[in-house]
Symmetry: C2
Subunit: 205 residues, 2 copies
Amino acid sequence: MNLPSAILEQAVDQLSSLPGVGKRSALRYALHLMGCKENEVADFCSALMRLKTDLHHCKICNCVSDTELCPVCSSPKRQQNIICVVENVQEVMAIENTQQYRGLYHVLGGVISPIDGVGIRDLNIESLLRRIQESYPAPVDEVILALPTTMEGDTTNFYLNKQLQPLGVKVTTIARGIAVGDNLEYADEITLGRALQHRIPFELN
Amino acid sequence: MNLPSAILEQAVDQLSSLPGVGKRSALRYALHLMGCKENEVADFCSALMRLKTDLHHCKICNCVSDTELCPVCSSPKRQQNIICVVENVQEVMAIENTQQYRGLYHVLGGVISPIDGVGIRDLNIESLLRRIQESYPAPVDEVILALPTTMEGDTTNFYLNKQLQPLGVKVTTIARGIAVGDNLEYADEITLGRALQHRIPFELN
């Protein structure tokens, strides 16, 4: 694509650095912003800049937050003795949307992935172990591992389990199985195999 | 979607104002920017701000440009007596990419669309007529209308033709027909009808 302006080209280059955005979409975004008023674009940019300047990570769970402690960690209504370990902020939001979980979180910031150069030291594992060792903010009875069902997620699960077992906490993982509404014939054999293996007593709900 | 931070929420709101971007994609973009370094986000924002502060519209054709005159209008190699009228900057780029056109452009900035509240006065029609009347920058022999094949495009074509005819210029439109590589059976009847009506002498190329 041959752009008639270097300024437009720079904006397109920057916009196409966003995940999943190609040059064509980036151009569409740039032309849209060009058509906006100057103060609108300034508002747009300041909202993005504030992501870096004003946004905190919660001191306890590392989730994004406007304050030192995130709403979950600072709520007295949450169960303090259960920690759910997730990869990213998105998973916190997904689990919160289920309205089924009342415990605390711990955001790792990724999973162990040697190919992407993500090692143990790049993740918030140390702070998780410290939370449990120091019973901060409260003694922990159970750690739920809610990491992705990928090889990297499984590796991280395995490593975390090895670190957590000596600390005397119960370690669980979320159930793997057939998704609600899914058809058995389209499930892959590993998922179906695990779903059979971890079958549960029938209950009406 | 329940975001854990008002700052993140504002960024997501702003990003989802981009055309075709939903809340979920906007969140993905925001989290990506959050993971970038502060100076990278600053570069990102300054590139966008420059779209409003530093980008010019060409004084002659109204195309975007870094300078007062765009590269096309300031090039002595272009044919000065043909103007191609297009809706937006994207069409200029599309036509330039064909490398088939050596004349000048005129960017209307839209098409007549009463539903969207776009009237004659909102478009760069006046400046087009002035260019031809005042032979600026050179006398014009032909105006090619390359507007979209929508009702709004046709309305604009009709209006422009009415204004241009009295000025003694030749008015043409780009050919409508079957796209190269397309199958006749899937063409809509209006396109196929027009393609038959405007058939051309057979040539090998």
